[in-house]
Symmetry: C2
C-alpha cells in the first residue's frame, strides 16, 4: 500500500507529477525519461490510488447504485448485467441494493428502501442512482437524491420529478404479442397486466388495446387484470380473469414471471395450454424454452436498458437528448409452444 508520496520519492519527482501520470492526464508535458521513471516506479511498487482520498478530493465516489426489487428475478438480473458492463466501461462499480429482503420485513409500509442506500445517497457515497420502478418508488430516496443533486434515473416509469427515465419499447412489444395471437385466429384475447399506475403498464395495455381495436376486436377493461411480478400472483390473476370472461382463448401477459403462474394456475383448473388457451408473454428468459409448455415470448432489450441507464447518468451515449429515452432496439417475437391456432 504505497502512497503517492512514496512513488514520488522513489521516482524523484513531485507528487503532482505522479498523480497526473497515474491518472493518464493527456495534457501533461514531461520528458520521456521522467515518464518512464514514474511509470516504472508505479508498476514496481504496485501503486494504486487510494479510492477514499480520490473520492474526497474529487467529490466522485466511482460508484453507481442500482436498486432492484428482486435480484433473483432473471429479468432484473439481465438489466443489472447491462448496467454493470456499461459502468465498468466508464470505470465505475455497481452497488446493488435488493429491496426484496427488506420489504419482507416491512411489508406493511407503503414502500421502503434499505437504510444503507439512504445513507449512501445522503453521504454522497454514490455518483448516481438507478431505480427500478415497481409502483411508487421510495419517496425517501427520491427526495434525498433530489436534495443532494445526485443524478437519478428511473427505469420503466415516468414518476415525474425532473429525473431521467429509461423506457423499453413497451407498446410495440404488446402489439407484437397481440398481433401474433390475432394472426393465429384468436378474437377474444385477455391481458394480464403488471402493477397499475406505472408508465410501462399503461404502454403495454395500450399496445394490447390498440391492436385489438385495429382489428375490430373487443378490448374492454373486464378483459384486463393486474398482477405483480410473481408466479403466485399470476396464477391468481389468470383465474380471476377466466372466471370473469370465460370465453377468452388467449392471454397477453405483460411479464413472463406472472405468465408462468398463469400457465400453471390455468393448467390446474383444467385448461390446456395452448389447446384451450394460448399464452404470449413479454420478456424472454433463458428458462422460457424449458417450461412445462415452452413459452412464446417477446424478447426485450433488457441488457441495453441497463446500459442506457448508466449512460444517461454519465451523460454520455446516444440519445442524450431529453429526460426520457426509449431503447430503440426492436422487441423480438419468439414463437414457442404456448401459443396455437384458435
Amino acid at each position: 500500500m504505497p502512497r503517492l508520496a512514496d512513488v514520488a520519492k522513489a521516482s524523484k519527482v513531485s507528487p503532482a507529477i505522479v498523480s497526473r501520470v497515474a491518472n493518464g492526464d493527456r495534457s501533461l508535458k514531461i520528458t520521456a525519461e521522467t515518464r518512464r521513471r514514474v511509470e516504472q516506479a508505479i508498476r514496481e511498487m504496485g501503486y494504486r490510488p487510494n479510492r477514499a482520498a480520490q473520492s474526497l478530493r474529487s467529490a466522485q465516489s466511482g460508484f453507481i447504485a442500482l436498486a432492484v426489487h428482486d435480484i433473483t428475478n432473471p429479468v432484473y438480473g439481465e438489466i443489472a448485467r447491462g448496467a454493470g458492463a456499461a459502468a465498468a466501461r466508464i470505470g465505475k462499480a455497481l452497488v446493488m441494493s435488493d429491496s426484496s429482503e427488506h420489504e419482507a420485513e416491512t411489508a406493511h409500509l407503503p414502500e421502503t428502501v434499505p437504510d444503507t442506500l439512504v445513507d449512501l445517497v445522503g453521504g454522497h457515497g454514490v455518483d448516481g442512482l438507478i431505480l427500478q420502478a415497481n409502483g411508487g418508488a421510495s419517496d425517501q430516496v427520491l427526495a434525498l437524491a433530489a436534495r443532494e443533486k445526485t443524478p437519478m434515473v428511473v427505469l420503466q416509469a415516468d414518476i415525474g420529478i425532473g429525473d431521467q427515465v429509461v423506457l423499453l419499447p413497451d407498446e410495440q412489444a404488446a402489439r407484437l404479442a397481440t398481433g401474433h395471437l390475432i394472426g393465429l385466429g384468436h378474437t377474444r384475447i385477455g391481458c394480464l397486466a403488471t402493477n397499475p399506475g406505472l408508465t410501462f403498464t399503461g404502454a403495454r395495455i395500450a399496445g394490447w388495446r390498440r391492436t385489438l381495436e385495429a382489428h375490430g376486436l373487443r378490448h374492454d377493461d373486464t378483459r384486463v387484470v393486474h398482477a405483480p411480478a410473481t408466479i403466485a400472483a399470476g396464477a391468481d390473476a389468470a383465474a380471476t380473469l377466466l372466471a370473469r370472461s370465460g370465453d377468452i382463448t388467449a392471454l397477453v401477459c405483460c411479464n413472463i414471471v406472472p405468465a408462468i403462474g398463469a400457465m400453471m394456475g390455468l393448467t390446474e383448473r383444467g385448461y390446456r395450454v395452448p389447446d384451450d388457451i394460448s399464452i404470449a408473454a413479454i420478456h424472454d428468459i433463458p428458462m422460457a424454452p424449458f417450461l412445462k409448455v415452452a413459452m412464446t415470448t417477446v424478447a426485450m432489450p433488457l441488457f441495453e436498458m441497463g446500459v442506457a441507464a448508466v449512460e444517461a447518468l454519465a451523460g454520455c451515449g446516444p440519445g442524450d437528448g431529453g429526460p426520457v429515452r426509449i431503447i430503440d432496439t426492436e422487441p423480438r417475437l419468439i414463437v414457442r409452444a404456448s401459443t396455437g391456432r384458435a
Copy 2:
C-alpha cells in the same frame, strides 16, 4: 449537503461532539440538553456524514465486493440476496461484480476479473471480498487482496491461500439425492458433476460415490461426467454419459442448471424423464416446479451461505472458529416429477 462543521456551528458545540453523536458513540458523556440540541440540528439540517471523508479517516470504505460469474443465474442470485441482507445489517453495501460480461470478451484467457474490481481492491475501495469460485479464481485479485490484506472469503472451494472458505453441506446433499434414487429402486446411477478440481465438486461426487458404495452398487469413474453451470453444457454431458454407459437409469446432477440441459438433451434423444431416466438435481430454484418435467431437487442453504460469507468477513456470527465454515442448515430433498421408480 451540510458538513459536520455546519452542524457544530448551528448547535454551538465542537465538531468532535457532533461526530460522536452522529455515530452513536456510547461512551460519550454530554448533558441531555446538549445532546438534544445536536440531534435536532442534525435532523433539521438533514446532515449525513460524507462517506469519502469517513472512509479516508477510518480506512474503511463501507463496501464489500461480491464477485460472481453470472448474476442472471438464480443460484448466485440467492447467494447475493443473503450477502446483501447480512451486509445491510452491519451497515455495509454490496458491490457487485459480474464477470460473465467480461469473460465473454476474454474467453481465451485462463481467468479474468473486471479491472474495476482490481482497482477497487488495490485502492482499498472495499473492506472485503467474496469470491464465487468456479475453478481457479483470478490470480490477479487473489494476489492483490493478499498483498493489500483485504479480507477475502471464497465460496465453495478451498483454494488454500490462507483465506476463509465457506462451504455448503455438499456431500450430504449428494447423499440425499443418491439415496432417494436408490430408494426408488435404481441401481445404475450416473453423476453429472460440476467443474473438476473444486472442493464442492469433489464433495458432491464423494457423496454420490459413498452412497452407492454403501449399497454395494457400481460407482466407477465412467459413470461421472463434468459440465460447467450452463444448460448447453448439461445437455452435452448427459449425452456423452449415456453414450458411454447406456444402462444408466438415473442421474444425480450436481447443479440444477446443467440438469435442465440434461433433461432437455435426453428428451430430444428419445429418453423419457422419468420413465427411462430419473433426474435429481442439487439446488432448488423457483422455476424448478414449472419445468417441462418438474425437477426433483435438493434445496441448499444458499441465502445462508451469503450471510455466512459476510459474517466471516466481518469476523462476527457463529462458527467464527477456523478458516473453513460449513453452513450447517440441512439440505432438503424436494421430490417432484423428474424421479420415478426404476
